[in-house]
Every structure is written in C-alpha cells, then in structure tokens.
Amino acid sequence: MNRSRLRFADLIRTGLLGLTTRLGRTILTAGGIAIGIASMVSVLGISSSSTADVLSELDRLGTNLLAVEAGASFLDDDVRLPDTSSARIRRIPATENAAALTPVSVDIVKSDVMPSGRNGGVQVSATEAELLDTLAGTVADGRFLSTGDGQLPVVVLGSEAAERFGISSVKHRPAVQLGEHRFAVVGILEPLVLYPDIDRMALIGFDVAENLFDSKRAPGTVYLRTDPDYVEQVRNILARTVDPASPSSVSVTRPSEALSAKAEVNKSLTNLLLGLGAVALVVGGVGIANVMVISVLERRGEIGVRRALGATRRHIAAQFVVESAALALIGGTVGVGIGALVTIGYAKRQDWTVSVPLEGLALGVLAALVIGAVAGLYPAVRAARLDPAEAVRPA
C-alpha cells in the first residue's frame, strides 16, 4: 500500500504529453511511419481492387470454357478441324454449349463509302447462333445471329469492327458490303475481354457463307462450354473426339487460364511492393527509436524529477513506450487514411470496384502500434536505467 501507483489514464496522458510538448518533432517522426503504412495500405488496396477486378471478370466469363483449334501445320496454312467437329463435341455429355468459328475469305467494306480492298482489318467469319452464349458475350445493340437466318444476308459486328465502320447502332438499318453482296447489320457486340480477335470480326451464318462465298464448313475453331465439374475430363478427350485419326493435330486451350495467370502476376507484384512498404515501415520504426533515444538523453532532468516524485523504473519505461507507440499510432492512422484515399482514387480512375479491406486498415494501425511499442522498448529501458541521482544533477 506504500507503493508508487500510476493510473492507466495518467500513464497515457503522460506519454502523450511528451508528444504535444515537442509537436514539430512528433509530426516529422510520425510522418515516417505514415509513409510506410500509407504505401503498404495503398499497395494492398490497389492490388486487391485489381485482383478483385480480374477475378470478377473470371467469374463472369467462367472457367469452364475451352477452345479447340487445328494445330499449326507446316504444309497447310489454312488448317481446319474436321467438318464434323461441332457435332462430335456437342455429343459429349458434359458439353453445355458449343459453337464453331471459321474465317471466310471475302472483303468487307462499309457500303458505298470505303473504296474496295480496304476493310480496315475487319475479318469476316462464319459462325453459329450458339457462339454468343458459349462465349458469355452480350449484344450492345440489335441481336445476334439466329438459326432462322438461313440464307438471309445479315451480319453482326464485333465492337471494334463496328467502331471502324462508324456504326454505333442498328436503328437506321446500316449495311456493309461483303464482296458483291450487301449485308444488313443486325447487331453489334459488346467487347469480349478474352477474345479481342472476335471484336474485330464481322460474323455471318454458315449457310449464307457457303452459299454466297463458297466457304467450307470445316471450322477453324470450336468454342465449348462444359459442365464446370468436368472441365478437365472433357479437355482430355477433346482431341480424340474431334479428330480420332490424328488427335495430335488438334490443340485445346482454356482461355480463363490467361486471366488466372494475370491474377497470379498481380499477386507476386503485390508481394514485392508489400515488401518495399514493409522496409519503409521498418525504416520508420528505426526513425522512432532514434528520436526516442535522443529524447531520453535530452530529458534526463525530467526523468530524474519523475523518479524523485516517486515514479518507479517501470513507470518511466511505460511512459516512453506509450509515447513511442502513440507516435507510431498517429503515423499509422494518418498513413491508413492516405493509403485508403490513394486506393479509392486509383481504383476510381481504373473503373474498378473499390476494394479496401477493412481488416487491412485495422491491421495497418495495429502494425504501427506494435512497431512503435517495439521501437520504444530500447529507449524506454535506457530511460528506466538512468540513475536518478545522476539524472537530477545539473548537467
């Protein structure tokens, strides 16, 4: 009962007093921590927003899409899959949807306007009505090809192709010229993230392609959507199903793998930047330790008086740890705020859905607190070890 006793609230108040008394130093020192925390939070925030973006794209597109193509051949430039490919693939029970796509060798120009021979890089391809659903694409305006189109000269433009022809709507019945034939544009597609090639295509039906342009039915590519639980199994039997005679001439790809890889790259880049942020944070912590050591030297007199007034070594140590932790906490809070703002600003500019993980922010503040307390430990021990008689002696 004759012990010294420092109330917890008084300990906190005493620790903060050291900071408010030396405001300039407090701001500068807390700034170091703020930079470290801000960079870590914004790296985390930006990467999680960007990964969230990629993942939501993946989610939308699904990972159960496969593309079957004829492997490149030395002998033949225009390699094709067997005519029956689509039909065979549709017969696989796990196939939900499939559509063939085949290049058609005909020039396309916007009616009357562009001179013949300049198609602006737009490729005409023949395909089936199922293509849109198979690729999980959407129509920006009008409609997609349908099985009922038969011999009708109608065409659907990829987003980029439409842009090149200056067609943004099907309202006024725009038309394009495919070779000798005039085709009505009945639909314009939204961009297909995984298939930028199709964005530059003009799509027509197989029947009309065969009839007007003498196009073969053998597909260049078949896209298929499988039951999500059987993607790998389907993938394994696809080559043999499509071309039992020479399965090795068939290549099967899974477009979503490109996106998954992108997310992976994102992750490793994030880890690198996070490492840099951590280094900044440690440097900030060392800065705090430094300033606190200097502070202890300067405040010999104060420490001596507090000991004379009854402070124990623990009270002195606790005061400096609180001071150091509070210093880092201020820096951490400011840093988290800046980091969150940077993330939100960046994500807005990239048109991403903002994803600032709250646990991340709390973790940032906590990290600062821990770093501050640890950084304050050594100076605190030094302060506590000061001999009180020495400390009160005039320097």
């Binding site: 010294s4 420092l6 507090r306 004379a308």
Partner: protein, 232 residues
C-alpha cells in the same frame, strides 16, 4: 522518532581515484525543523541530499526515514517512499514546460494514484500556500525564476511529505528573490513543514535556525539557534 536519521553514512564513487563524497556522516533531523546544510563546492552537499532523499544509496551506513530503514528496501519500494514521504526542490526547478503551474504541482501526486480532480484541488491549495494563487494557469515559460521556484516548492509540498529537501533552491536566483524564497521556507516551516535546504551561501544559511556545515564529506559543525542563544 526522528523524521530522518543517518548513521555512519559513507558514500564512495567508483573510478580512479575513488572519491569519498561522504565520510561517516551521522545526522538526525526532527519533525518541524528547518535546517540549512552549508559547505563549499565539492564538499558533498548534493551527495548528502541524494542519499537522504533515497535517490542514491550509501556505500555504507543506514538512512532511516520516519524510523524505517531504507537499505533493505527495493528500488520500487524506495520510489513509493519518495512518492509519499519526501519532497524535492532543485536548483534548476525541473518543471515540465508543457504543463501549467497547477498541472506541474499536481505531478507531485501523480505517482500516488490520486484522481485528477483531487490532484487539481490540492495543487491549487499548494500554489496558494506559496503565494502563486494568481498564476495557476501559467506555463513555466511565462513565469519569473522566483515564481518557477515557488511552483517547484509547491510541487514538493503538495503531497504533505515528512520532509522537503531543497538543493540550492536559490542558486539560479538574484539575492532579493533568494531572500523571498528563504522567507517562504521560514513561513512554511512555521506552518509545520520539515525542510532541509542545501546552500553554499553562508549569508543565506545565517537565516536558518539550524545550520549543518559540511566539509570534505564530513560534518564539520552542527549549530542550532537556540543553542547559540543559550551560549551567548
């Protein structure tokens, strides 16, 4: 029971050559006394005060505060003793620049776990006792040297200690202000405080009822006014 009793206290500082700052000092101080410890520079006055105030432990000998031996106490126990029973006043005031006069005085109660309200009430009272009731909210930076030392004295008094130790409290003050501070000490003593003042100023020491002269770490003379009067 004496407020303070030193028995054969010796304090040696390590180093080469070792310095014997206090050499077999015995001293008793009773409650209600006002004592000046005088001596030339380097004679061991500050060492004596640090040992009395338990800021430093003697190499040999015993320091008893209110009948309690301090040599066996732990560092934390000594801190508790200082928090409750001993008040300090220093030559350089040692006030906290960021705190008002009242808050500075209140730190005298900080390490006793007393609630802030109560600390504030008692600090105002202590400031009034030293004649600074009108300077409660001033920061040390806005006070004169004499006023600062009064704040420091109030801080030493606020906890109602058994003994107040002041090491050269007038060392940084001009002679007129020094006299005011000594008069304050006399006044506080007449109100019941036990005070020990250390000074190298013989003239100032003359104003105190009891004068202990220290020379080379030994007590050279110990004179009480009553005894003096009796001798004349």
């Amino acid at each position: 029971m004496s407020v303070l009793q030193l028995t054969s206290v010796t304090k040696e500082y390590g180093g080469k050559p070792a310095v014997r700052a206090l050499d077999d000092v015995s001293l008793r101080i009773e409650a209600g006394e006002l004592t000046a410890i005088v001596g030339p520079s380097g004679s061991g006055k500050s060492t004596l005060m640090n040992v009395i105030g338990t800021l430093d432990r003697p190499t040999r000998g015993e320091v008893m505060i209110e009948g309690e031996a301090t040599s066996a106490m732990s560092d934390a126990q000594l801190a508790g003793l200082r928090a409750r029973r001993i008040g300090f006043v220093f030559q350089q005031f040692h006030l906290l620049a960021g705190l008002s006069a009242a808050a500075n005085v209140a730190t005298g109660l900080l390490y006793r776990g007393i609630k802030p309200k109560e600390r504030e009430r008692r600090s105002h009272h202590a400031l009034e006792r030293v004649g600074l009731g009108h300077r409660i909210d001033h920061r040390p930076g806005a006070l004169s040297g004499g006023e600062r030392q009064r704040v420091a004295i109030a801080r030493a008094l606020v906890g109602d200690p058994a003994i107040v130790l002041a090491d050269e409290p007038t060392g940084n003050l001009d002679s007129k202000t020094s006299e005011e501070i000594v008069n304050l000490m006399l006044e506080l003593n007449s109100e019941g405080s036990t005070i020990v003042v250390i000074t190298h100023d013989n003239e100032l020491a003359e104003l105190f009822p009891r004068r202990v002269r220290v020379l080379d770490g030994r007590i050279d003379s110990d004179v009480q006014v009553e005894a003096l009067i009796g001798a004349v």
